[in-house]
């Protein structure tokens, strides 16, 4: 997994509340393998109308959002389905950081596993940054994970992130390798547990 330390890039304001994972990546693309490039169908049904034409009223289609690596969104981003492919679609589109007042729990977990930063910031602060961007579409935003700050021109605001996720992103840690180092703990737990909770095993006498 790629580390995330600091990023300066264009940012796209998409201040809609409750953009759930069905909106981020419609279910019909879930059977696509990742190699197919899920970035092309990010927000598909919001970006395009039934005839495949871009919807002008969807902010993501506006020039300010082309090439953006940072996404500013409304509250409860990524709620709903646990589909990790929603994170793949965002990441494959080139986005490395999403800033929102709140995130769906499973989405935030999935994001960190893929090197996508989910930064939690109050709605008012996000609105201030969006206002600056509206006045100057070429203005960049800097996200500093070590300092836990987001700055844009003369604005600078702290953001929140779960400390476990922060460590993992900063170090590019791999969960599986980390768990391997606890192999003996796991074996000891399993032996103890089989004694204390014999009922937890599925019975093997099923038809």
């Amino acid at each position: 997994m790629e580390k995330f330390v600091r990023l300066t890039a264009k940012a796209c304001p998409l201040l809609l509340p409750s953009l759930n994972t069905d909106q981020i990546l419609p279910a019909r693309y879930l059977k696509w393998p990742r190699s197919k490039g899920l970035g092309t169908v990010l927000f598909q049904d919001l970006r395009f109308d039934a005839d495949g034409k871009e919807r002008a009223d969807f902010s993501f289609n506006q020039p300010i959002c082309r090439g953006a690596k940072i996404l500013l969104v409304g509250r409860n981003f990524g709620g709903g389905s646990s589909r990790e492919a929603a994170v793949y679609a965002i990441y494959d589109h080139g986005i490395r950081c999403v800033i929102a007042p709140s995130f769906g729990d499973i989405f935030a977990q999935n994001a960190v596993k893929n090197g996508l930063l989910t930064a939690i910031m109050p709605e008012e602060e996000i609105a201030k940054i969006a206002a600056v961007l509206a006045g100057d579409p070429e203005q960049t935003v800097t996200v500093d994970l070590e300092q836990q700050t987001i700055s844009c021109r003369d604005l600078c605001c702290a953001f929140a992130i779960d400390p476990v996720s922060r460590d993992q992103l900063l170090n590019g840690w791999d969960d599986v390798d980390l768990t391997e180092s606890y192999r003996a703990h796991i074996a000891a737990f399993k032996a103890r547990d089989q004694q204390s909770r014999p009922w937890a095993a599925p019975t093997t006498t099923a038809a």
């Binding site: 509340p17 409750s18 759930n20 069905d22 909106q23 419609p26 279910a27 019909r28 879930l30 059977k31 393998p33 990742r34 049904d45 919001l46 039934a50 409304g74 509250r75 409860n76 709620g79 709903g80 389905s81 646990s82 589909r83 990790e84 492919a85 994170v87 709140s102 995130f103 769906g104 729990d105 499973i106 977990q109 999935n110 596993k113 893929n114 779960d162 400390p163 476990v164 460590d167 969960d175 599986v176 980390l178 768990t179 606890y182 703990h185 796991i186 737990f189 399993k190 547990d193 909770r197 014999p198 009922w199 937890a200 095993a201 599925p202 019975t203 093997t204 006498t205 099923a206 038809a207």
Partner: protein, 472 residues
């Protein structure tokens, strides 16, 4: 020695599974059951890319549900991409020696229906699945939550998962629900109160006399929908209802082992003075049949209400949301809910497709005809058999609805069972998100009985008058 602090059920389940805890607060937890389905393929691919195998195949169970056809099971699946999804699960299960309830297995069904039905889901277990509605299994007093593909891969390889302990929320529903009020109505009332993201970061314990009075089917519906309040998981402490349901289930403990298990399970309750981070209370007696009107599950109102009017909303952000939602749903501001005509109905999904749900819908439909087309997809092949033995299939068919095989079907539409664009569907499912039942589809969530009422009326309707003189 200080007296031990009173513990919540959540605390007890957590500590029983904790293998180790890091300084930053993340704990490594043991996983008792891992359910996989066709959509888990990313997890298997990640595992294979590392050249690894499944750590505990005997604790891993596969179920074909998301992509399976609900008609023509004797024929080959016509869409090759969908066929490949079902086949891929079969291959992954076989390669890794995982028990599979596959397309043609008589026990096949939706993963969250099959787990409980087979006695795989038990009190006190930690259960994960690459599906957000894994919260369903908490109905047994299990710690059950949905995970993403990377976590699926991690569980496959290690039978463990890293988690941070969630905050705790107790939702107490006391009182007696009126006739015609289902677990779905209670759940939607809770979501409307807490909001779709209100329980984020929390594990919910449902408590109170109205919850105790629910059958296992009702508790499963309730815990299923806890994710729609944003919760990590939902649970109900196990009791006599739970034990009676489990006794004799194929994979549950048997004989003396069952009695010993019940003894252990009985201790799985929150201690009397245990403190929760948040407490929410509701009066069951005040709950009316509820339907959703918008595009998130907390857009829920009693059936006698009118949809909101953005012009009367003072918060501009909320007003814009209301306008967008009403526009997508094709509903005029301030319209009475009972004046909204529906184009079709769907009864199914892991929320409401168990035998009790089918009985509730059939009680309304018996001797009546649906004004619109509709599909009924039982939660499992065993539920389907039982419903047929009870003659429920005939009630649905006589009413003009289609009686199909079991699967996720029109809940998410990826098997091809779609609501056509622009059409309005009264649905027993769990998500009214834009495009959830198909691009452009408009979904109204409600209980099975309320879906039956909408079918008979041709518009959203109060089921209660239709139940007069009938056994609900």
């Amino acid at each position: 020695m200080p007296m031990s602090e009173p513990q919540t059920l959540i605390d007890k389940l957590w500590s029983a599974h904790e293998i180790t805890r890091r300084e930053d607060g993340a704990a490594l937890l043991w996983v008792d059951r891992h359910y996989v389905h066709e959509g888990s393929f990313h997890g298997f691919s990640q595992m294979q890319a590392r050249g690894r195998t499944v750590a505990e195949p005997s604790l891993t169970f596969g179920v074909a549900d998301h992509y399976v056809p609900t008609r023509g099971r004797d024929r080959k699946i016509p869409n090759p991409e969908i066929a490949a999804m079902v086949c891929n699960l079969e291959k992954n299960a076989a390669d890794n020696h995982i028990s599979l309830f596959g397309l043609h297995d008589p026990r096949q069904g939706i993963v969250h229906v099959v787990g409980p039905e087979q006695g795989l889901t038990l009190p006190g277990l930690l259960i994960v699945c690459g599906d957000s509605h894994t919260s369903t299994h908490g109905a047994f007093g299990a710690y059950a939550f949905g995970i993403g593909a990377s976590e699926v891969a991690h569980v496959l390889m290690t039978q463990t998962i890293w988690q941070k302990k969630p905050k705790t929320m107790r939702v107490t529903v006391d009182g007696v629900a009126a006739p015609g009020i289902a677990a779905k109505d209670i759940a939607l009332a809770i979501i409307a109160r807490v909001h779709a993201d209100g329980a984020q970061g929390h594990a919910i314990e449902f408590a109170g006399s109205a919850i105790r009075a629910l059958s296992m089917e009702g508790r499963l519906t309730l815990c299923n929908l806890s994710i729609e309040a944003g919760a990590r998981c939902g649970m109900v402490a196990p009791d006599a209802t739970t034990f009676a349901y489990l006794k004799g289930r194929p994979y549950a403990p048997k004989g003396a082992a069952f009695e010993q298990a019940v003894e252990a399970w009985t201790k799985l309750t929150s201690d009397p003075r245990a403190a929760f981070d948040r407490d929410v209370t509701l009066d069951a007696g005040g709950i009316a049949p509820i339907v959703t009107w918008g595009t998130t599950p907390d857009d829920a109102l009693p059936i006698d209400a009118t949809v909101p009017d953005p012009a009367r909303e003072s918060d501009p952000v909320r007003a814009q949301y209301l306008r967008d939602a009403l526009d997508y749903m094709g509903i005029a501001p301030g319209k009475k809910l009972t004046e909204i005509a529906v184009d079709r109905v769907f009864i199914g999904s892991c929320t409401n497709s168990r035998i009790e749900d089918l009985r509730a819908a059939a009680a309304v439909l018996a001797g009546r005809v649906s004004k619109v087309p509709g599909l009924v997809s039982p939660g499992s092949t065993l539920v389907k058999r039982q419903a047929e033995e009870e003659g429920l299939d005939k009630v649905f068919r006589d009413a003009g609805l289609e009686w199909a095989e079991s699967g996720c079907s029109m809940c998410v539409g990826i098997n091809g069972d779609l609501v056509p664009s622009g059409e309005r569907c009264a649905s027993t499912t769990n998500r009214n998100f834009r495009g959830r039942q198909g691009p452009g589809a408009r979904t109204h969530l409600m209980s099975p009985a309320m879906v039956a009422a909408a079918a008979v009326a041709g518009h959203l309707a109060d089921v209660r008058p239709l139940l007069a003189g009938r056994k609900a």
